[in-house]
């Protein structure tokens, strides 16, 4: 059952097969959670919204097939809409520091060095979370999910060219914002410094 394609699992799930939906759940939970986690900045809200995404997907799975999108794109759209509502509801946007899960351990590194690296990372993530929603989405899909521009376009409802252009503008904008808060993006050139 675990090696069934998305399409097969979807057909079975639409016919009421809970196990098939469970397969899709196992396959996409981590990705959706990661996406929401980076958009909200804390694990409590990420868990809550992830659960809502899967419940909504469960309820509407019968309508999915008519839309002509990959299942992952559909899930990301649900997640994107829920996160947008979440931001709207939280008029006073919480500036919660990202959890310790992002403190990546570097074996053999000095603790001070590790701390500096994590500070830089958190600073960058803070700048990312201040970007417009579509740009955040683009960066997460590109760097966490390693999706192509065409795949991102499917999720965001844009052409491949539009995604490419938005990506370019986003990176330049991000660099400026990052420099303004004192971030050192040049450290990115030294991959070993950041846990490569």
């Amino acid at each position: 059952m675990l090696d069934t394609s998305d399409e097969t699992a979807l057909v079975l799930a639409a016919q009421g097969d809970g196990e098939a939906f469970g397969v899709l759940y196992e396959r996409y939970l981590g990705r959706i959670y990661t996406y929401i986690y980076y958009r909200t900045g804390n694990s409590e809200d990420a868990e809550d919204l992830t659960a809502r995404v899967f419940f909504r997907a469960m309820r509407h799975i019968g309508n999915y097939r008519h839309r002509g999108l990959p299942f992952s794109a559909w899930l990301y759209r649900i997640a994107h809409n829920l996160v947008a509502n979440w931001h709207r509801d939280n008029s006073r946007r919480k500036e919660v520091p990202l959890d310790d899960t992002l403190m990546i351990r570097h074996q053999g590194d000095h603790p001070e060095h590790e701390l500096v690296i994590n500070e830089e990372r958190n600073r960058l993530l803070q700048v990312i979370r201040n970007l417009p929603a579509d740009r955040q989405q683009l960066l997460i899909l590109k760097f966490v999910e390693h999706m192509s521009n065409a795949q991102i376009g499917e999720i965001m409802g844009r052409s491949e060219g539009a995604v490419k252009s938005l990506y370019h503008r986003t990176l330049l904008n991000l660099r400026l914002e990052y420099e303004q808060i004192g971030g050192d993006w040049h450290s990115g050139n030294n991959g070993s410094d950041l846990g490569e």
């Binding site: 009421g16 760097f143 991000l174 660099r175 050139n189 950041l194």
Partner: protein, 112 residues
């Protein structure tokens, strides 16, 4: 890891640098195993046969279309009846007036 080529413009270097920084900073995050297990149980337990739900939606649509049709037909019928009643009323009024005029003419002739 991207390789920065010799002779690239500053903008390209900036972008390459940012890409590297993002590659190392944005990494997948694993949800708590407890949350994963709990949600899995909830999702499987609450999973409803979707076909039934679809059928219910279809039935609801059929009911709504039928109710709209009946409502529409009744409205048209009422409208037609209203127009007919209005015409009949006008007819009666006109007839009443004509009879009145006739009576007055007869009365005048009798007076003369």
């Amino acid at each position: 890891m991207k390789i920065i080529k010799w002779g690239q413009s500053n903008e390209e270097l900036d972008i390459a640098g940012m890409e590297m920084l993002l590659q190392t900073s944005l990494q997948p995050v694993e949800p708590r195993p407890e949350f994963k297990r709990r949600l899995h149980t909830q999702v499987i337990r609450q999973f409803q046969p979707v076909q039934d739900e679809v059928k219910t939606i279809k039935q609801r649509r059929v009911w709504m279309v039928s109710a709209s049709l009946v409502g529409g037909v009744l409205t048209i019928f009422m409208g037609v009846r209203f127009v007919m009643t209005l015409i009949a009323m006008i007819g009666l009024i006109l007839q009443f007036r004509k009879e009145n005029e006739n009576r007055q003419v007869v009365a005048l002739r009798q007076v003369r």
